[in-house]
Amino acid sequence: MDSSRGNQSLFQNIDWLTVILYLVLVVTGVFCIYAASYDFDDASIFDFNEFSGKQLTWIGLAFVIGLVILLIDWRVYETYAYPIYILLVIILFLTIFIGTPIKGSRSWIAIGSTIRLQPAEFAKFATALALAKLFNSYNFVLNQKASNYYRALLIIFLPVLLIIAQRETGSALVYFSLFLVLYREGMSGIVLLAALFAVTFFVVAVKFTDTLLLGIPMGEAAVLIMIMMLIVGMVAIYAKNALVARNIFLGFVGSGIIVAAFAFFGLVLNGYVYFLVMITAALVYCFITMWQVKTRQVTFIISATVVSVVFLFLVNFGFNSVLEPHQQLRIKVVLGIEDDLRGAGYNVNQSKIAIGSGGLYGKGFLNGTQTKLKYVPEQHTDFIFCTIGEERGFIGTAAVIAAFLFLILRIIRIAERQPRAFGRVYAYCVASYLIFHFAVNIGMVIGLCPVIGIPLPFFSYGGSSLWGFTILLFVLLRIDAGRRDNPAY
């Protein structure tokens, strides 16, 4: 094949919209870093001693990396997917021992005296490649065999374990976003739904503990009531038995009124007893009436209910006995149970102040006081979004959110137009990582998520993160550009 013609078609086939979004995010990021570390003495944005100057260097290198990636044949990535993955796993493993300790974690490898890299950032790329390669195997259908799940989960959780061993939990959590990929490839939606319920139960059970209902914490009572409603819902919608659903519902409501009436006159029945008796009764009733005709559904309803109740008691136990006090505190601060403005809540409170003080239009470039005066910790890395909030106001933050939204939606579109599972799965991996980083980073900065130290892609200061995401994105662009070279087989 004539190489010049190949390159010509390559540049025609590159998804330039993604490249432009990438450039916009990266360039905006440099300005933010400059503003965040600007210190009243007028250092140039290009000064290498400043974060912004260094970041510009990282960006320059990122462009080189991007260009090199585009020039390499896309088949290389597919062919060497497993070796790359294995290489990264080995590096991750070694990092546990040879990593430079920073703030209690050993996730950085020092190369020489100036350059430090975080292998976890590159492992995302390797994991995405490996997962894509797995799904691209001949006749691979996720739901066909349980072993397919094991293989996928192995690829995902091997780096997770190693990264946790480096004590870099935040980065490890990112890999959980790959469940979105599994979902897209056929994993049951119940898993996502169950996760959603688990989070809801957890938040409700942990948050509302100071008032009592029937002698048990309000939050737990609320979760138990939700479980009761879940039974009614499952019977009605999943088992499609309106009569049984109605009877169970009336039973719950009727018994609830009686118990409430007794409680009103001072005769308080223990909540655990009441709820557990009623839930058991409902399940027994289901079993008797529907076992013969709807065995599968009844089994599911019973097991889902039992799992929910067990989960509730595990949350209670786990939160109080397994989580360490500082982790409990972080969660409590996010849930608004505790206000610890000098400790765990300090970062978030300051970042809320910085963002909140920006108003609609912001204070103007380099006019932010909160970020400039170092009120917000980690403001050039994890909390970079504050700078936008303070200096560019709501217009700025909305624009950044819109930009991320466009980029991610664009990647999903790219994913869906891939002729082969390899490209599709890889693209969804990229989208999932971005969704997770976007949601968690901005969520923590505006006080909606616990503080998990992960960067805002393309914005946050740091070479590893920038290069990691650049590689992820440009490999995707290269695969996409080559999608017509080799149709599905």
Partner: protein, 613 residues
């Protein structure tokens, strides 16, 4: 392929998830940034340390330019609670000579929202106030070891002499109410309390300056905001020159020692108050510094309420000092001529009513009536005006309203408008008042005691003195005031304009002559000194609460008077016993600067007399 198609649809679930998250974040951001304004304020208080620069408060001088109130620096220890880090408490306590428990107690008090409603961890709070310079020096050296603490220099008042506390007033820390009333104040500021410190607060305090500093997260000052472009330099308060002669004031206070009452001395020509004595008085230095609160509450509880300025707040029956005003009204209204004589046989006897009087000639005309302080004369005069002049006034109501109009024009019944806070208006009844009290059935006899300054009528010593000044001027007065000059400004117009009652000068001459006669051959003989033509009028005011009040008004010299006085001593008996000596000693002291040897005995007996119970 159908299976794949269904799976492809799952992208919508993922997209929906993404959009929901982004939507929630946008709502949250909109809330934080646009709807909720509190973050802006917090950010400003984070980043800008607005430091007030306090101007020096205006000094106060007396009419002879001697400095009586000035400023002394004092040091407050301030801290911003959230900037305070762990520090060596032992070291800190040593520097201040306090125990650890004191320090802990102070911190608790500071955080107690009940005592300190403005407490905030983000704003400067006062830990200790009024550090003496040596403690300040000791702490200043160590201050760098105590981040979050700083020392603020403040000025407190110093008084050159222990006199005139009621006139001068003092300064105190502003209360929550003051802050709500006047946005100029911020917590910890000082403002004037009582006296001219209060009434001239805005002149004395000047304008606070403002320094805006940029402060980083560690509480370190990074420099001036915008190079100080928004800073304001303080404008010092203006000095006040009082009309008070501080020596005369101190002398008056000495005369009043052991007595309850007031002395007011006015320069008739200008309305300037030369002395405004209220007894018991207190040392103004008590209300300065650390012990102010304790001393203040002691003064509140002290017998005879020293904080109550009797000279302008006390409403007393004027007694016979009221008679000159009655003479003026009777003459102006034509009720009596100079030769009109009324009988007095040891009193006024009419329709079963008797108002007693003492032995003197009868019948009697106006000037001798003033000389002898005849009660009957003024009772007959008022009776003629109210009961026997239907032709002129129509009804008794009209007659009484005419009387009232005149007496008000002489300065009674309403606040005179002195430049001090808390002035009492006294009380002059009107016809409506009596109609209500007596259910429309009243005549001159019913109310006859007001003609001799008893009954419902009350007046402040200032109003009584003002009558004396008006007679001294032969028919006009200027609203009495204590501030003579304001540095770089003029005093208010009302303290420069004459107020002229509608009574002819001629009648004032007659009354003045009557008052002169009272000194030469009447009730006030003891008021005479050093050949000065002194005029006077005694007053012995009955009161329902005990012994008569002893009062005196007078002016001197007879022609071109330089001083008019009122002395009012509670429960001290006859006007001649205390009122006359005290009032005349004040005049002599003012006119000559000293007391003549032949009156030294009287002076000493006044210094030593104790009438307060």
């Amino acid at each position: 392929m159908r299976k794949d198609y269904i799976l492809e649809k799952r992208k919508y679930v993922i997209i929906a998830l993404l959009l929901i998250v982004a939507g929630i974040y946008l709502v949250r951001l909109f809330n934080l940034q646009v709807l909720d304004n509190k973050y802006k304020d917090v950010a400003d208080s984070n980043a800008y340390l607005k430091k007030a620069i306090y101007p020096s408060r205006g000094h106060i001088l007396d009419r002879n330019d001697s400095l009586i109130v000035y400023n002394k620096p004092t040091y407050d220890i301030m801290l911003v609670p959230r900037d305070v880090q762990e520090f060596d408490t032992a070291d800190f306590c040593n520097a201040l000579n306090i125990t650890r428990d004191d320090l802990i107690k102070r911190f608790e008090d500071m955080r107690d929202k009940k005592n300190n409603p403005n407490y905030s961890a983000y704003t400067p709070q006062k830990l200790f106030t009024h550090l003496p310079p040596e403690e300040y020096g000791r702490l200043q050296e160590k201050l760098h070891r105590f981040p979050g603490f700083y020392i603020q220099k403040r000025n407190i008042r110093q008084y050159a002499c222990n006199a005139g506390a009621n006139v001068l007033g003092n300064i105190r820390e502003v209360s929550q109410k003051d802050i709500e009333r006047d946005p100029y104040y911020s917590p910890g500021d000082y403002c004037g309390d009582l006296g001219i410190e209060r009434s001239y607060e805005e002149v004395l305090r000047g304008e606070k300056g403002l320094e805006i500093l940029i402060r980083d997260a560690h509480g370190k000052i990074q420099g001036k905001y915008d190079n100080g472009a928004h800073d304001l330099s303080p404008v010092p308060g203006k000095n006040l020159k009082l009309s008070i002669d501080i020596n005369l004031q101190a002398y008056g206070e000495k005369l009043m020692a052991g007595k309850v009452g007031a002395i007011v001395a006015i320069e008739p020509e200008t309305g300037e108050i030369l002395a405004l004595v209220s007894s018991p008085n207190y040392d103004p230095n008590l209300l300065v510094g650390r012990d102010r609160g304790k001393n203040y509450s002691q003064l509140v509880k002290a017998p005879h309420k020293p904080l109550f300025d009797r000279s302008i707040m006390g409403a007393y029956p004027p007694g016979s000092t009221f008679k000159p005003s009655q003479g003026l009204i009777l003459r102006q209204e034509g009720i009596v001529s100079l030769s009109t004589a009324f009988p007095c046989h040891r009193g006024f006897i009419s329709g079963g009513l008797r108002v007693g009087c003492h032995r003197h000639e009868s019948p009697i005309t106006l000037k001798p009536a003033l000389r002898t302080s005849c009660n009957a004369y003024f009772c007959w005069g008022l009776k003629n005006m109210l009961d026997n002049n239907k032709k002129r006034y129509g009804t008794i109501d009209n007659a009484f309203e005419t009387w009232k109009k005149h007496i008000v024009s002489l300065g009674y019944g309403y606040k005179l408008g002195v430049d001090l806070p808390g002035e009492n208006r006294g009380f002059i009844p009107n016809a409506k008042f009596y109609n209500k009290v007596y259910n429309n059935h009243w005549s001159a006899n019913t109310i006859i005691s007001i003609s001799i300054g008893q009954g419902e009528v009350t007046a402040t010593p200032l109003q009584i003195a003002n009558l004396s000044a008006t007679i001294a001027n032969r028919g006009w007065f200027i609203t009495p005031h204590v501030v003579k000059e304001i540095q770089g400004d003029t005093i208010r117009k009302e303290y420069r304009e004459k107020r002229i009652p509608k009574i002819k000068r001629q009648y004032f001459e007659e009354v003045a002559e009557g008052m002169r006669m009272a000194v030469t051959g009447g009730t006030c003989k003891r008021a005479q000194f050093r050949g000065v033509e002194v005029c006077g009028k005694t007053g012995t005011a009955e009161n329902p609460h005990g012994r008569d009040h002893s009062a005196f008004i007078g002016f001197a010299p007879y022609h071109e008077p330089k001083i008019a006085v009122c002395a009012y001593i509670e429960n001290a008996g006859f006007g001649a016993t205390y009122g006359v000596p005290i009032g005349s000693l004040m005049m002599e002291k003012y006119l000559f600067g000293s007391i003549s040897p032949e009156r030294k005995g009287m002076e000493a007996s006044m210094f030593n007399a104790r009438t307060a119970r």
